[in-house]
């Protein structure tokens, strides 16, 4: 951090010296906060109950949520549902289940959307809407904090530990 600050100072003596110092201070504090934050909540992968599988690998999940794979191995189309990337559950899902940063996924979707080369996941308002959509759309996949009780037309997928 000090190195960056020093080089910046050399380049822009009067211009942003003070500002950069403040900025760097903020960054450092934020970083510490980030490191201090505790892990916790688990998530579950939910799919429409008509899907003839009960497990999935992390690699498959990454391909599905990055929209690179668009159909299940039985060749039925995949319909992907997500929560807003502003939501904590979405961030936790990216970091803990997919183990990718939310910005990486967002970048992939944005490039597809704004170059017209692919479709992006369908965003739903909350977990209730998520379950409703999953129940009503064959081939759909999404995530919730936990699936409480029996839910018609919805089942969970277990994540396999096998690498591929």
């Amino acid at each position: 951090m000090y190195c960056i600050e020093k080089s910046v100072t050399l380049l822009y003596p009067p211009l942003i010296h003070k500002f950069m110092r403040k900025l760097l201070f903020t960054f450092t504090s934020l970083l510490l906060l980030l490191l201090a934050s505790s892990p916790g909540a688990s998530q579950e992968i939910v799919v429409n109950a008509s899907l003839p599988f009960n497990d999935v690998t992390q690699t498959q999940l990454r391909s599905i949520f990055s929209m690179r794979v668009r159909s299940w191995s039985n060749e039925k189309p995949i319909k992907v549902f997500v929560l807003s990337s502003d939501s904590k559950l979405h961030r936790d899902f990216c970091l803990r289940i997919l183990e990718v940063f939310p910005y990486q996924l967002q970048r992939i979707w944005d490039v597809m959307l704004f170059s017209g080369t692919g479709s992006t996941p369908i965003e739903v308002k909350d977990e209730r809407m998520m379950l409703e959509q999953i129940a009503n759309n064959p081939g759909s996949i999404g995530y919730v904090k936990s699936l409480q009780g029996e839910m018609r037309n919805v089942k969970t997928l277990q994540i396999q530990s096998a690498p591929y």
């Binding site: 960054f27 990454r62 668009r70 159909s71 060749e75 944005d110 017209g116 080369t117």
Partner: protein, 398 residues
Amino acid sequence: MLKHCKYKALLISTTIISIVITSIADKAYALNLGKNNTLRIHGFLSQGYLKSDNNHFFGNSDQKGSLDYNELGLNASYAPSEKLNFAGQLLSRRAGKTDDGDIQVDFALLDFRLINKSNYNFGTRVGRIKNPFGFYNDTRDVSFTRESIIIPQSIYFERTRDISISSDGVEIYIQRNFTLGSATLQFLVAQPRVKNLNTKLALFRQDQPGDLEPKPSFITRLAFHPFSSAFKLAYSNIRLHAAFEPDSGGSNDINFTSNIFSLNYAYQSINFTAEYALRTTEFAAVNKKQTGQSYYLQLTQHLSHRWNIFSRYDVLYQNKNDKNGKKYALSSTSAPAHSRFAKDLTVGAQFIYSKSWMFRLEAHYVNGTAWLSSRDNPDLMDTTQKWRLLSLLVAYRF
């Protein structure tokens, strides 16, 4: 350095724009969540502020600073079936004297996916298609998809945008998932958009009486994403052809070739990107050939889901056999040696307020003027070799 009144102007314009857009956005979202989610409408908007100590970039940036840089896009896609997708985007962009804000069709295409299997996709796109090269070209005008306010100029020139951004033609794509990773091949056959003054200026340095005519051109990109690591690799090959037909008669072929190697690596909160390109411009009639070299290294650190900082070193040589431009300057009276290279050290920060709002600040320390436009800097002899540029940007999307 930054005048108070400029902050005010920036704030006022941003607020007005945001109110208008937010009211439109609510309606647009309704369409997005419509029946079967097949018609989707999205958009983006950004306003930049630039202040340089010397030279002009995107307007008269060296005096009170320039607000003459904004991007506005409206994007629609409609998928009547799993195999068919219509997509299009209108773009209005102002950037100094190089872009006047006229609404343009950025792309408008029909995507027909012939094979759609879990590990294998094959299809074709027809219409106006974004040129598939490098990591950023496909969405270079959408600030949310870039890492910085100003995209690395060594590879994504603003001077020749019209031929760079999109072209009219046919693209074939194949995507295949292997055990190790996923590979995508795109092959585009198209007519480049050369009929404009910016392209002429980039080729000849000044306007010439005559017309540039497009000829069939080819762009290929091969990208690979291994499953087991966070690498992303790409190789792009560009072959653009055109003919210059002077008013005095005759026709001279102009060929442009470029090979671009791209690498991206994401390790936890660190994201590293590097691209390297060799570009050859050939004027067949006079047997003149020139090869330029470009590269940049970029490191982004994501500090939290809201903050990131980045630094970049970006280098452009117009002629790799005359890197400092000294040979060129001996025979030129209209452009100095320092117009033949540019080395740009950039540091910047980004604050993501929400999915829709984003703010950026970045500072450039540049040696050389190779990527400055002669439209913003009419007298290139009057430019300064070492210059600095500070930029702010606010962006909105829906």
